[in-house]
C-alpha cells in the first residue's frame, strides 16, 4: 500500500493537503445538499399548504360543491382531495419539522385547522392522482415515474411526493401532494467548479512552495551524494531559513573537510619529498658498491621502498585525484598494461573481445589492473585477462593458475598489508597495499574488486566498474 504513496517531501505534502481538502469539500457538499433538501421539502409543503388554504377559502362560496364538480369534469388538476379520513399514504415518512412549519402557516393565515400531517413518500396514493402539484399536464404520472429518464424530460423526473393533509373543522381531511423533483446533477456543477478552482488556487502555490523548499534540498542531496572532499563548489543557499541554515552548515563542513585534506596533501607531499630525496642519495651512493650482487640487492631494496612509498601516498591521496573521468577504450587500456608485463617477459595474455568504452580515470584504473596482474604473476606465475559485460557493470577479470586463497581468508586480503598466510614466497615483494589500492580505485569508479577461487584451481580477481557513471 505504502508503495503507492509519493516518496518526496512535496509529493507527500501535496497528497496530504489534497486529501484534507477533499474531505472538507465532501463534508461541505453533504451539508449543502442536506440544507437544500430541507429547503426543498419546506417549499414543497408550502405549495401544498397554499393550495389547501385556497381551497378552504373557496369553500365559503355557496356554489362550491357545484364548481368543484365542474373542475373535476374539465380535468383540472390539483384539486385538493377531500376525504373523511386521512388518506392512506404508503411508505410514508412523517416530516416533523416541516409539519410544524405547516401548522404555523395555517395559524398565520387565521384558519382553524384541527390537525396537520405532512409525509414524504415515494409512491403517490391513487386517491391523490388529481391533487398533485408540479407534474406535467396530461401526462400519466405513473408513466413518468416509471420511466423517468426515457426521454429527456422538460422537467426533471419526479423522485417522490410530499403529502400535506389537514383535518378541517368539520372533521373532513383535505390533502394535496407536491411532486419532489429530482435534483438536477447540473445543480452540483457550481460546487464542482468551486472545488476545482479551490484546488488550483491552493495546489499551484503549494507546488511552488514545495519546490521552493525541496529544490535546494535536492541540490544538497546531490552534492552530498557525489561528495568529493574539498572539491565541491559551495551549494547555493536558497529556500526557507531552515534549509538555508542546513546548506550553510554543509558548505562550512565541506570547507573544513577541504582544508583538512589540503593540509594532509601538503603533509604527504612533504613526506614523499623528504623520504625520496635521501632514498635517491642512497641510490646514487650504491653505484659505488663494488660487489655486483650486493649492489643489485641494495638497488632492489630501494626500489621496494620506493614502490611502497608510492602505494602509501597514492592510497592516501586517492579520493583527491585530479585526473578527470574520460571516456576510454578499456581494451586499449588493458593492452597498455599487459604490454608492460610482456616487455618484462611475464606470461600475461589478454583475450581481446569487443570494444568497451567507459568513463574512467585511466591512470588510476591502470594502476589497479597492474596490481592485480602483479599479484597473479607473484602467486600464480601467469595471468589471463578478459572482459565481461553484464548490464551496466564491466568486469576486467584477471585469472591465474596459482594455489588460490583459502575462502575464509579472501576478504582479509583487502586489508592493508595483508598477505596470503603461510606464503612461502616472501620474495613476492610489493607493499601489501596492492589489493587495498585496487579496491579503492574500483570503488571510485562505482564498482569493486572481487576475488574468488576458480573451480579448477587458481584465483580469479575482477575489477568491476560501472558503466554510465558520471
Amino acid at each position: 500500500m505504502t508503495r503507492f504513496l509519493p516518496k518526496s517531501l512535496v509529493g507527500q505534502l501535496l497528497l496530504l493537503i489534497a486529501v484534507t481538502l477533499l474531505i472538507a469539500q465532501a463534508f461541505n457538499i453533504f451539508l449543502l445538499y442536506r440544507g437544500a433538501q430541507n429547503q426543498h421539502l419546506s417549499e414543497a409543503s408550502a405549495a401544498a399548504v397554499a393550495r389547501i388554504v385556497g381551497e378552504i377559502e373557496r369553500m365559503n362560496d355557496s356554489r362550491y360543491e357545484e364548481r368543484r364538480e365542474r373542475r373535476f369534469r374539465r380535468g383540472r388538476r390539483v384539486i385538493p382531495l377531500l376525504s373523511d379520513a386521512a388518506p392512506a399514504v404508503p411508505d410514508a415518512q412523517p416530516l416533523r419539522a416541516v409539519t410544524e412549519r405547516a401548522v404555523q402557516a395555517f395559524v398565520n393565515m387565521g384558519l382553524s385547522i384541527r390537525t396537520v400531517e405532512v409525509w414524504e413518500t415515494a409512491r403517490l396514493p391513487a386517491a391523490l392522482q388529481q391533487s398533485v402539484i408540479g407534474v406535467g399536464r396530461g401526462r400519466r404520472l405513473t408513466e413518468e415515474i416509471r420511466r423517468p429518464m426515457a426521454r429527456k424530460p422538460a422537467r426533471p423526473p419526479v423522485r417522490g411526493f410530499v403529502v400535506v393533509s389537514a383535518e378541517l373543522e368539520d372533521g373532513r381531511w383535505m390533502s394535496v401532494a407536491t411532486a419532489l423533483k429530482d435534483r438536477d446533477v447540473r445543480a452540483l456543477r457550481p460546487l464542482m467548479i468551486q472545488t476545482v478552482v479551490l484546488y488550483l488556487l491552493l495546489l499551484v502555490p503549494l507546488i511552488w512552495i514545495g519546490r521552493y523548499i525541496s529544490r535546494p534540498l535536492h541540490r544538497l542531496t546531490k552534492v552530498a551524494n557525489d561528495f568529493q572532499p574539498g572539491k565541491n563548489d559551495p551549494v547555493p543557499e536558497s529556500g526557507p531559513p531552515d534549509t538555508r541554515q542546513l546548506i550553510s552548515a554543509f558548505n562550512d563542513m565541506n570547507e573544513r573537510v577541504g582544508a583538512m585534506l589540503d593540509e594532509k596533501d601538503i603533509m604527504l607531499g612533504a613526506i614523499g619529498h623528504d623520504l625520496r630525496t635521501p632514498l635517491a642519495a642512497l641510490r646514487v651512493r650504491i653505484e659505488n658498491v663494488a660487489d655486483d650482487v650486493e649492489r643489485e640487492r641494495m638497488i632492489a631494496g630501494i626500489e621496494d621502498m620506493d614502490r611502497m612509498l608510492d602505494d602509501i601516498l597514492s592510497l592516501a591521496r586517492l579520493g583527491r585525484s585530479a585526473e578527470p573521468m574520460e571516456a576510454t577504450d578499456i581494451s586499449a587500456l588493458i593492452e597498455t598494461v599487459v604490454d608492460e608485463f610482456d616487455d618484462l617477459g611475464r606470461d600475461v595474455t589478454f583475450k581481446r573481445g569487443e570494444r568497451h568504452v567507459v568513463k574512467v580515470r585511466g591512470v588510476l584504473l591502470r594502476r589497479a589492473l597492474r596490481n592485480l596482474i602483479s599479484n597473479a604473476i607473484a602467486y600464480g606465475n601467469n595471468a589471463v585477462i578478459s572482459v565481461e559485460k553484464s548490464g551496466d557493470d564491466l568486469s576486467i577479470i584477471v585469472e591465474d593458475s596459482g594455489p588460490g586463497i583459502p575462502d575464509d581468508q579472501i576478504e582479509a586480503m583487502f586489508d592493508p598489508f595483508a598477505r596470503v598466510e603461510g606464503s612461502r614466497n616472501r620474495a613476492t615483494g610489493g607493499s601489501g597495499l596492492g589489493l587495498t589500492l585496487a579496491r579503492s580505485i574500483a570503488r571510485i569508479h562505482g564498482g569493486d574488486v572481487r576475488l574468488e577461487n576458480r573451480p579448477n584451481g587458481g584465483l580469479r580477481a575482477s575489477i568491476i566498474i560501472t558503466d554510465g557513471s558520471p
Binding site: H273, P278, L279, A280, A281, V284, D339, D343, V363
Partner: protein, 239 residues
Amino acid sequence: MNETAHILLVDDEATLREPLADYLIKQNFRVQQAADASVARSLLNARDFDIILSDIMMPGEDGLSFCRHVRERTDIPVIFISAKTEETERIIGLELGADDYITKPFSPRELVARIKVVLRRAAGNGQKSGNNKGAVYQFSGWTLKTDQRSLLDESGVNVPLSSGEYQLLLALLSRAGHVLNRDQLLDMTQGREAHAFDRAVDNQISRVRRKIEKDPKNPEIIKTVWGGGYVLAGPVTQI
C-alpha cells in the same frame, strides 16, 4: 658527442647533490653545483653550460620557475629531477620546456643515459619536445593531444597509449609523410622512460597499429616501407 659536457646541477639537498655530482664527474662530465635557483641564475650568467639538472621543489624559487627563466634566455636543455611522480606534473614539466623528467629515486646510470640522449638531440637538429608543447595533431579521424598525452578517436573516446607508443606516434606525426628508419625512431623516442630502452621499434609499431588501425594486418595509417622504415600516411593537421 661531447664527453666533457658541462652540467649545472641545482638541488637544495646536499645529501643528494654532492654524491650525484661525484658520480657525474666520474662519468666524465664537468659539474657545477647550485643549492638554489638564485645561485644557479648567477652561475648561468657567469659560465656556459651544456645541460641543466634541476630539482623542482626547492626553497625560494622553485624549479618550474627557474626553468621558465632558462627558457626565456637560452636553449640549454633542462632535465627535471623531482620526487613528484603524479602524471599531471610530468606533463607540466615537459610543458614548460623541460626536455626530460626523472623521478627520485632514480638509477644514476639511467640519468646519464638520458643526459646523453638530450645532449645528442640538442646538438643535432633533433626535435625538441619543448617545441611541441600544446600541439594537437589530427590524422585519419584520430586526435593526438600533446598537452595531455592523449589519443582520442572520432567520438572523443580516449585510447590509452603507453609512453613508448605515445613517443613513437608523436615522432611519426611530427615527420608525417617522411620515412623514418628504426634508428631514427629509436633516437627520437628513447630516453624518456626507464623501460623505453629495450623495446624493439617493430614491437611498438605493431602495438600502436593494433590500437589505431581498422585492420592491423593491413595498416593504412602507419605503413611499413620496404627496406626498413615506417611512414605515417594520410593527411595530418597540426593545430
